[in-house]
Symmetry: C2
Subunit: 496 residues, 2 copies
């Protein structure tokens, strides 16, 4: 892992041992999740993992130590689960033990606004800095680094990926990692840094910009700390890699909540917008935007050249609303050229269909669907193809019929759907490759079935560079944002 | 069912027998869904159901007839699944047989724009009208009437409810019925009427306005047919009952799609907006709006008096984004009065919490959550309480801990979650009753678990008058729209 000239933060992401101080004796609390997450990633199978709690001898099969000093070997990284009032004692132990980094899950410090607690936090950070120890937090979830087997919630993927997440909120970090993992995205590193008393956003952007394992950067920020350095670090990052940033606290109500949450002074919308604009970062306005933009820049969707959408599939009424939604999001739904319509009419009957865009083929077989998709993608006014992967239709005949479905055992039906989902992802990836235009899969999973097939499709599609979105509104919005970002970043004239 | 002076459309909704002409010999097509849906509703157990297809003698255990005339008894309602070119022959058979209504699933008529097919449709409708037979469609899914055991897709609830759905699109009707059913809503009647060659939207609004089984009306429209009559019928309806209308084809792209779909001339946004404004109908801008507004007007959410939201629950970062979302939707997130904060601080510790709004209690027990919700609901600036029903937290201790969860068999965990969901719905309904302020449940189901507990919660909550929405954005938007609608409808000064 270590580079010729490693970034100063690099050791934080690669601890050779971890101690969890104040580990609870049983399950049932948020604090107990730290031990279980590390064990789920099997950290303890490759590196020493030391639970610390003077009241117990053992927890989850691991020996438990009364304090840091009682641990026989060196400790690189400490996770503090203890209350704020006894934290200064742990700080002293860390200095004495020579740890490299201390993560405070511990809350109830500066973010309370209480002058005494603000001062307590400052004293601890000063003591740690003096000893060359970096602090993460307080009031945060800390590190998720798959290659180092670090995680702060259960269920995070153990495989590493190319996305670096910087989050001032632990819950929002969990939302991003959980939600994007289900869509096929994987992470190089994620840091929930809370109050940012020592380690701040700008340093993380600075690290992400040069991290060879990171190709995409995304962040949830509440406060703007050390604004000039943050601005410069985001600039370095956004020039090198797509950088998607969501800023909380941009309304008065949100800013008040941010003060309670991480003690942050939120700053104005205008300042933040200007920062994104000037640095070339992409501004996400909502958490949905953040998710969708990461998927977009992580796939061929990023290469979209213009606003022309062809939409294939969906019933007539859905097509009408979809066309409205695309137009409302600033995209275009160009009519198909006569030559394209003629090619489609060779095999699409007239009753109950449309070949004009949106295209409604009523196509029953994967072959006809593939033919349709290829023909429309080749049409000149088309910049991007939106379509619904229909797992049922791509399955064996009868897959659409409810009675036929009833006759297939549920498990077998699920297996078929999963197999169809896989084939559907391959089909779209092949078409995307062959036509050199991005394909977008619309899942409509919000109200529907969902289930394993949807997840398999999303994983397989993302891995092959095909972006999937839950609704056409979200897909259209994400594409519009990508076009505007690209136009700005590449110095092209604005497209939308 | 029949009233002293029944509405002229009433017989259509209460056929004493049904024939399905052109019923496929096997499953696997959309057409085969009509027979299976009627049988799923067990229509054939209470009324005669006659499949008609000269090529087969029996289908799904029912005797199949070669034509209408071969059926021994009277036939009230006919569903036509045959191609357009042979439909005129069926029209003659219907006239001869003396049926009351004919539903054309049959497509490929006026909506194609082909002059000959437009004329063919017109001739058939004229012939039927002359014989006093009402036609539904062509190019539509027809009737869903739970009390009469009529349905056009599988999986629709068999219990009747109070919502009347008018839809020009079959797929969108399916989306509304399927999606809202999962949220606890039930339907008195739904009509997918397609091209509207004979039976038009205005007649359905006229019926819904007087239908004693209907308390809420919702519609998806593409074209404006007989505008003056439509305007007057929507007015009658909206004065009597909350009436939520989504209009497709309001953009150029959508209007083009509407022409292909139902041959509709879509009309302008300005005209439609004015129609809603003047009649007191609520305009839904998207399908999500339509779903959410029906839930809102079907629950106590409808009684909201002002913009003040208190938000309880969710981590700090989620609270920040939620506050931003509420403010962006035109709602307010007022700080809690000092007296309210003092009452909360009696049992909410300072570390990792906020009592200012959004409220983050970290409350571990249902009792503490209930106490919190009651205290904040009583605060003067609060008009509505938004909260996350936390099924885990309402369960037994340890429900939140991933390791503990692993130790409980999946089935038992699901059962506990379902039970907790039920209790959570009861709790919110009780608080809503006791505090006389609406409570809104935020499901965040979009990215999460979902599953049975979420569905049980939504069903139980809706039945008790508590509205649930998938995200805070959607909840805030729906509440804002309801406030504006109420202010307009009740002649109150505009609130938002």
């Amino acid at each position: 892992m270590s580079q010729a000239a490693a970034h100063p933060l690099d050791p934080i992401f690669h601890p050779r041992s971890v101690a969890i101080v104040g580990v609870p004796s049983g399950g049932g609390s948020m604090a107990s999740g730290f031990l279980s997450s590390l064990m789920e990633q099997r950290f303890h199978e490759v590196r020493p993992l030391y639970p610390v709690n003077p009241k117990i001898d053992e927890v989850a099969g691991l020996r438990c130590y009364p304090n840091l000093q009682a641990i026989p070997g060196p400790v690189d990284h400490v996770i503090s689960l203890i209350p704020a009032r006894i934290a200064p004692e742990l700080v002293e132990q860390c200095v004495e033990k020579g740890v490299r980094s201390l993560h405070f899950f511990t809350a109830g410090l500066a973010e309370t606004g209480d002058a005494e607690l603000v001062a307590l936090e400052r004293r601890m950070i000063e003591r740690l800095r003096g000893a060359g120890i970096r602090a993460i937090g307080p009031n945060c979830m800390g590190l998720y680094v798959p290659v180092s087997r670090l995680a702060f919630m259960n269920g995070f993927p153990s495989e590493p990926g190319n996305v670096f997440l910087i989050s001032q909120s632990g819950a929002n970090a969990g939302d991003v990692i959980g939600g994007l993992s289900r869509r096929g995205v994987r992470f190089s590193k994620a840091v929930s840094f809370g109050n940012g008393a020592d380690l701040k956003a700008w340093e993380l952007f600075d690290y992400a910009a040069q991290d060879p394992d990171t190709e995409i950067v995304t962040a949830y920020l509440e406060g703007i700390q050390e604004g000039r350095r943050l601005f410069e670090a985001i600039g370095r990052c956004a020039r090198a890699k797509p950088t998607v940033i969501l800023k909380g606290g941009l309304t008065d109500a949100g800013a008040r909540a941010a003060r309670s949450h991480t003690g942050s002074l939120a700053g104005s919308l205008a300042v933040f917008e200007a920062m994104c604009h000037q640095t070339g970062a992409i501004r996400a306005e909502t958490m949905d935007d953040l998710h969708d933009l990461v998927v977009a820049v992580g796939t061929r969707a990023r290469t979209i050249r213009g606003r022309g959408v062809v939409l294939v599939g969906g019933g007539g009424g859905v097509a009408v609303l979809s066309a409205d939604a695309l137009a409302a999001a600033g995209m275009e739904v160009p009519p198909m050229p006569e030559s394209t319509k003629a090619r489609l009419r060779e095999f699409i009957p007239i009753a109950g269909t449309s070949v004009n865009n949106p295209i409604d083929t009523n196509a029953g077989t994967p072959e006809l669907m593939e033919r349709t998709l290829r023909i429309v993608a080749e049409a000149a006014p088309v910049d991007v193809v939106f379509t619904n992967p229909m797992f049922g239709r791509f399955g064996p005949p009868g897959g659409q019929d409810p009675r036929a479905r009833d006759e297939i055992p549920a498990e077998q039906a699920e297996r078929r759907a999963v197999e169809a989902a896989r084939r559907s992802a391959e089909l779209l990836a092949g078409l995307q490759e062959g036509t050199a235009k991005p394909f977008i899969a619309l899942m409509r999973s919000e109200r529907g079935s969902g289930g394993e097939a949807v997840e398999v499709f999303q994983q397989e599609a993302y891995a092959r560079g095909v972006a999937a979105f839950s609704t056409i509104h979200r897909a259209a919005r994400a594409m519009g944002l990508v076009l505007r970002w690209r136009a700005r970043r590449e110095g092209l004239p604005p497209v939308v």
